[in-house]
């Protein structure tokens, strides 16, 4: 079999995962997209393991690794999402902007009016 097929498929799958992570509003869906990305990686690992005919079968061992870690990660991820849901009341990511510079936005509008009038270098 031509190695390009699994490689291309993995790449596309990975990109779909990326889209999912960046575009989805709900945190759980983001975690699902992460799963997709991990699976793309697994496909690559297996394909290359088969291509290199590795004696150690490192590819497949690593795939097992990723699968277990993915499981652990999804467990923890969901725990965190639950916690967020319980405290913020919403799992949506784009409402969780506590670290943003919101304070700055309010002050900016105040600054702009002052700047226009004074125009003096900050002394």
């Amino acid at each position: 079999m031509h190695l390009a097929y699994p490689a291309v498929l993995a790449a596309l799958l990975f990109s779909v995962g990326v889209y999912g992570v960046l575009a989805r509003r709900n945190a759980v869906l983001v975690l699902m997209s992460v799963e997709l990305m991990l699976n793309a990686v697994n496909l690559n690992l297996v394909a290359f393991d088969a291509w290199l005919r590795d004696a150690l079968h490192a590819g497949q061992a690593l795939t097992l690794f990723t699968i277990t870690i993915a499981a652990a990660e999804i467990g923890l991820g969901l725990a965190i999402v639950l916690l967020v849901f319980r405290t913020r009341g919403t799992p949506d990511i784009d409402r969780l902007t506590a670290l943003g510079d919101r304070v700055a936005e309010r002050q900016n509008s105040a600054d702009d009016s002052v700047d226009a009038s004074k125009g003096q270098a900050v002394s």
Binding site: L99, D101, Q120
Partner: protein
């Protein structure tokens, strides 16, 4: 003949000036000797140097003043006939002026600084005449300018002295800027600033563009010698004390320009165009200033315009290539014009007013100052150019030079340059203008005489007489309106002018010292023929045709002016008689002025110098002030704007970066991944 003597001549007055500046305030009683002695000794030394040099010899000596990276500048001395003649003139006039000033400004608080500045001026004039290096000449040239600025502004309490001094310096400085560029051109082409080097380069034809050089030098000469475009400062410079006008604005500083052109005549002879420009400039100056002199009421302004006119004569002589005639007229004019100014000073000192119309109402003035009356007469006769005084011979020399130049190849260049170099047009322009000016000069000279010393009969007819006693008290009023130059401090204690209280000796005998050369210089110079030998050897004897024509015109001028004066006084007498009978309104008192009758419609503009001042005001002063306002705006708005904008720009940048902190994790991640992809692409493409 060692060079110690000529080196001392400029040095002594300079040291005198330094001493005066130092001790002026602390030991005023040393002021007088410190003022007179140095200039007297240097005058004697100048005479000795001249005699030692003898005729027909030149002496050159130089030591390097400083390296410049290009042509060196050297302290050089160049002695020849011209320097001898002019240094003696300067020495004599400067000594007379210093002596005269001791009496004229006897109780002026700032006499010490005045005397110091006059000595410094004399030193600068000596430096200009003796210097063999153009840049050192420029040093003397501009030190004279600054001394004239300070001296004109001596009475800085009065408003017009303040503005006249500023105007004098700025107009001469305006002339000096192109003058400096002319020196650069000369220095660059000749490879040195030494005058001999420059003249040698002119002879070998190494000067790339002589016309440009000549015109640039003419700029400086016009400024310094008050020729047509830049003459407006001289009449206003009369705001300075009279001895200053006698020394600086009659004999020496204004002559420096003529001396320089005479010294560099070979350069001027290389370009016909420059000579024509000089001729036109001289002609316009002569005629314009003569007309203005006819219409002035202030005696000093009449003499100032007369000086501008006589300088026009010298410039005309140079335009036709005869520097001998120019310097001959320069020396004789120096003598009789200084005489005129000093006697006018005595007149003003006695009458406490400058204005001629006021003097015309003071019949007692004649006996009050007999010396001044005689010397003023001698001076005016020399000015008009009637034989046998020096004025006649020097003016005839100019006429004959002009007449020779009217036919091609005949110009009297006396071997200085190619006779054909002088264009015929220059000859005709100078000749016609000179003759016309001779007529006008005679007219205003006679007018001055008639107004200054009215005969008994004429005054009675003219009307109100200013009694002698009243003159003393009324002088304050006269002083105020005519800006009279008497020192303010000395005003109140003038003694009631009685008949026998003539002027102090110190003001009288310099007049006679100066009257001597005015009368004798012409004859003495030409009879034993030592003057031409001293100069370039060309014969300065008046040619019969121009002599007759010139003298005739002069006499005509005198008669015309006298006739006009008679008719005017007769008409005033009739009007007086009618008014006594109560029929007509009282006539204005100054109807006696013949000038108004002669000039007619020209009287108004002539009185104000034909509006040249207003023209310059509009052409140069207003645009400069406008530019200044524009620069002030530019600086506050545009250049400042960039600085403020850079501050604002930095803050704007900060604000923009701040907006990127949206708080949404996904935007950060997108930016991160976009960056990764870009880097991957660059790495893939780059390698």
């Amino acid at each position: 003949m060692n060079t110690a003597l000529p080196a001392l001549v400029p040095a002594l007055p300079a040291l005198g000036a330094a001493a005066l500046f130092a001790t002026g305030r602390r030991a005023p009683r040393f002021a007088r000797p410190l003022a007179i002695l140095p200039v007297l000794i240097s005058a004697v030394l100048a005479l000795v140097t001249a005699l030692q040099l003898g005729t027909g010899r030149t002496l050159d000596a130089a030591t390097r003043l400083t390296p410049t990276g290009g042509p060196d500048i050297s302290l050089a001395i160049h002695l020849d006939g011209y320097t001898s003649l002019i240094t003696v003139l300067v020495g004599v006039v400067a000594t007379c002026v210093q002596v005269y000033s001791t009496a004229y400004l006897r109780d002026d608080p700032r006499y010490a600084s005045y005397a110091a500045l006059v000595s410094l001026f004399t030193a600068a004039m000596f430096l200009v005449v003796y210097s063999g290096d153009l840049i050192v000449l420029l040093v003397g040239w501009e030190v004279m300018g600054i001394c004239s600025y300070f001296l004109i502004g001596h009475h800085w309490e009065t408003a017009d002295a303040r503005s006249a001094s500023l105007k004098a310096f700025l107009v001469t400085k305006l002339g000096d800027v192109p003058f400096l560029f002319g020196l650069f051109l000369l220095g660059a082409d000749a490879g040195t600033f030494r005058i001999n080097g420059v003249l040698a380069a002119a002879a070998d034809g190494r000067l790339a563009h002589p016309t440009l050089i000549a015109l640039l030098l003419l700029g400086g000469v016009a400024g310094k010698s008050a020729q047509f475009p830049l003459h407006t400062w001289l009449p206003d410079a009369m705001a300075g004390p009279t001895p200053v006008s006698a020394l600086i604005h009659a004999a020496t500083m204004v002559a420096a320009g003529i001396y320089l052109v005479a010294r560099l005549l070979p350069v001027f002879l290389l370009s016909g165009a420059a000579l024509v420009v000089l001729a036109v400039m001289a002609a316009v100056t002569m005629i314009g200033s003569a007309l203005c002199a006819l219409a002035q009421d202030d005696i000093k302004r009449v003499l100032a315009y007369s000086t501008v006119g006589q300088l026009g004569y010298m410039a005309g002589a140079l335009a036709v290539g005869d520097r001998e005639a120019a310097v001959f007229h320069l020396v004789s004019h120096g003598a009789f014009k200084a005489l005129l100014f000093l006697s006018a000073g005595v007149l003003i000192h006695a009458a406490h007013t400058n204005s001629l119309s006021a003097m015309s109402r003071m019949p007692w003035l004649a006996e009050r100052v007999p010396d001044a009356r005689w010397t003023l007469g001698i001076g005016l006769v020399a000015l008009v150019g009637l034989p046998p005084f020096s004025g006649f011979f020097s003016k005839e020399a100019v006429f004959s030079a002009a007449e020779h130049a009217t036919t091609r190849g005949e110009a009297l260049t006396n071997g200085v340059g190619p006779a054909a170099g002088v264009p015929v047009a220059a000859g005709w322009i100078v000749l016609v203008a000179a003759l016309l000016t001779a007529l006008l000069t005679a007219a205003y000279a006679t007018r001055l005489w008639l107004l200054a010393f009215p005969g008994r009969g004429a005054v009675a007819a003219a009307g109100t007489v200013v009694p002698r006693g009243e003159a003393a008290e009324g002088h304050a009023a006269a002083l105020a309106d005519t800006g009279e130059d008497l020192p303010v401090a000395a005003s109140s204690t003038a003694t009631a002018p009685s008949v026998h209280a003539t002027e102090p000796a110190a003001m009288r005998w310099p007049l006679w010292v100066l009257a001597l050369p005015t009368m004798v210089f012409g004859i003495a110079g030409l009879r034993p023929n030592w003057l031409p030998a001293l100069l370039d050897g060309g014969s300065l004897r008046p040619s019969p045709a121009t002599a007759v024509l010139g003298t005739g015109l002069a006499l005509a001028g005198v008669l015309i002016s006298y006739a006009a004066w008679r008719t005017v006084t007769a008409r005033a007498a009739r009007a007086r008689a009618a008014e006594a009978a109560g029929a007509a309104a009282p006539q204005s008192t100054d109807a006696v002025d013949p000038g108004r009758a002669l000039l007619g419609p020209l009287y108004g503009p002539a009185q104000h110098g034909f509006g040249v001042d207003r023209l310059y005001e509009r052409l140069f002063v207003l645009p400069t002030l406008g530019a200044a306002r524009l620069v002030r705006f530019l600086d506050r708005e545009v250049v400042e704007g960039y600085v403020q904008a850079s501050g604002g720009g930095a803050r704007l940048l900060g604000w923009a970066v701040r907006r990127a902190q949206t708080g949404n994790a996904q935007t950060y991640l997108s930016a991160l991944l976009a960056g990764v992809v870009l880097i991957a692409v660059f790495v893939a493409v780059g390698t």
